[in-house]
């Protein structure tokens, strides 16, 4: 019996799809609040893309629950394993919470939640300005947190792959790595 070395194909696909979506969302998010000329265009992308993230994370979470995952490399200490597991939990939590906070804050502000054309979502919270103010701030803080978590994740994978050289990247490589 051989031990699984890579995440399953569907998990790797969903990981890289979400990586692209999340980096795009973080970049658009931070750019749109500082932009006058492109504000409207960027918001018009950010809103439906955020809802798409929410849909994809539901699929990804279900897929994660029903997939076998490869073991941690032996090069990882118990402390590193704990941090890696906590970071995965943190990412999943933010991937659910950030879009829901975004949807919720638009609801509390009584903005129409336009996806494209005349397609729009229903509000999930009552119209309340104080609630909007709190959720709007929360959205920013959680997005910065997500970006910092991404930087740590990026750094940790690079460290393992380039310095420890334990093939960490191969576990999630977009392509198939032969055992």
């Amino acid at each position: 019996m051989t031990t699984q070395r890579q995440f399953t194909g569907s998990m790797r696909f969903l990981h890289w799809l979400m990586a692209a979506m999340i980096l795009t969302m973080l970049g658009i998010g931070v750019a749109m609040v500082a932009s006058l000329a492109n504000y409207h265009t960027l918001v018009s992308i950010h809103r439906p893309l955020g809802i798409l993230v929410l849909l994809v994370v539901v699929i990804r979470y279900v897929n994660r629950r029903f997939s076998a995952v490869p073991p941690f490399p032996a090069t990882m200490s118990n402390q590193e394993r704990f941090i890696a597991a906590a970071s995965e939990l943190g990412f999943y939590t933010l991937l659910f919470v950030l879009p829901l906070v975004g949807w919720g804050m638009l609801s509390a502000a009584r903005y129409p939640i336009v996806m494209f054309g005349s397609v729009h979502l229903f509000p999930i919270l009552p119209h309340n300005l104080m609630l909007y103010a709190v959720l709007r701030k929360t959205h920013t803080v959680l997005a910065y947190l997500m970006f910092l978590m991404f930087l740590s994740h990026f750094g940790a994978i690079l460290f393992h792959t380039l310095v420890v050289r334990d093939g960490m990247f191969n576990r999630m490589a977009p392509w198939k790595v032969r055992a």
């Binding site: 031990t3 970049g27 006058l36 009584r110 300005l129 334990d166």
Partner: protein, 368 residues
């Protein structure tokens, strides 16, 4: 442990020299720094001189002060309700559901330009009307209009510079007229627009004021044809000139009180007139009027039949973002539109978290 077994079977890479390890660590550090720098660049932190929504709203706050819970511009206002009755004539121009024959409920807000919520009513002050249409299928159309025939500031940058020029001097607490003169010398388009505005007569009250979209938008019909338009709400109430004596002494709210009295007597009505552009008409500059003779389509009538103070009106707690548009109405290439959307949104966010102070037009004033 199976984990350890598998790694034992792998070929161990040769050890890195200390120099190579440090080199790789440095490369990793540079990559992380690069990503973080890209993020900071996108967020505008590396270009502090660029004009952002935050700097724009700061300029409003410097010009008129921060008044807790109030809009940073058009701070003094009153809420109204009513409906829009479409006659169906707009359907050939736009597929928006609001133009199908029938009624759309609206909530509105009359206001004066400027960030002071307790400013005394004055005939020459800019009058605003925000209208929030709730379309039958859950879509919305919000429009924030003013009574000027053209908008005197051509670009977001010019608008910002005019705010800076009109901010009070910290020593005299008055704007320095030299700043505005210098601004006008740099912006001949604004001088031209002020000429048009001065030749325009000011009506006696809110009820007989024409409110204009100023910025161009695009109407898209069911066939997919897209055409630039501007719109105006033209009063059915008879025209009358502003009181020759100016404000009524002792009543700082005399224009709002007159609006309240007239809406208590009878519903107030405006025709929604769509002006259709011809090829070549300027769509990216609201300071330039379109030539006379453009096709004008009367698409229906706005009826406002009740008035309420801001404390009671849902209008206080929404943002009349001019880019909340239904399918069938789209932004034009006017750069002011996206800038207005960005600045209104930030003004809305800032006031949302503040304690709401009482408005100048109180609930008891509205019941008079």
């Amino acid at each position: 442990m199976p984990t350890d077994m598998t790694t034992l079977t792998e070929k161990q890479p040769p050890l890195l020299t200390t120099g190579r390890t440090l080199g790789r660590l440095a490369a990793i550090g540079l990559l992380i720094l690069g990503v973080a720098t890209a993020f900071l660049y996108l967020g505008g932190w590396l270009t502090p001189r660029a004009l952002t929504p935050a700097r724009f709203v700061d300029a409003f706050e410097r010009a008129d002060g921060v008044h807790s819970g109030f809009r940073r511009n058009h701070a003094k206002g009153v809420g109204v309700r009513g409906f829009f009755e479409s006659n169906g004539q707009g359907m050939r121009l736009s597929k928006a559901a609001v133009f199908r024959p029938g009624r759309t409920p609206v909530i509105g807000r009359f206001s004066f330009g400027g960030g002071d919520p307790y400013v005394a009513d004055a005939p020459g002050a800019v009058r605003g009307l925000g209208v929030w249409f709730s379309l039958p299928d859950g879509e919305e159309w919000r429009t924030a209009m003013i009574n000027l025939p053209v908008f005197p500031l051509q670009t977001p940058q010019a608008f910002y510079e005019s705010l800076v020029a009109s901010a009070p001097d910290p020593r005299t607490h008055q704007p320095d007229p030299k700043n505005m003169e210098a601004f006008l010398a740099r912006h001949p388009g604004t001088v031209r627009a002020f000429g048009i505005i001065k030749s325009h007569t000011v009506s006696s009250g809110f009820d007989n004021t024409t409110f204009n979209s100023l910025n161009a938008f695009r109407f898209v019909n069911a066939g997919g044809a897209s055409i630039p338009v501007r719109w105006s709400f033209v009063p059915i109430q008879p025209q009358a000139m502003a009181r020759p004596g100016g404000p009524i002494p002792g009543n700082r709210n005399y224009l709002f009180d007159a609006l309240i009295a007239s809406i208590h007597q009878h519903p107030l009505q405006w025709r929604l007139i769509i002006t259709v552009a011809q090829p070549g008409d300027v769509t990216n500059d609201a300071s330039i009027p379109w030539p006379d003779g453009r096709e004008q389509v009367n698409v229906g009538t706005l009826t406002l039949d009740s008035v309420e103070s801001e404390a009671a009106s849902p209008a206080r707690d929404v943002n009349f973002d001019p880019l909340v548009l239904p399918a069938g109405i789209a932004p034009s290439d006017d750069p002011l539109l996206s800038a207005r959307s960005a600045v209104y949104s930030l003004s809305f966010t800032r006031r949302a978290g503040e304690t709401k102070e009482a408005s100048a037009i109180t609930p008891s004033e509205v019941r008079k």
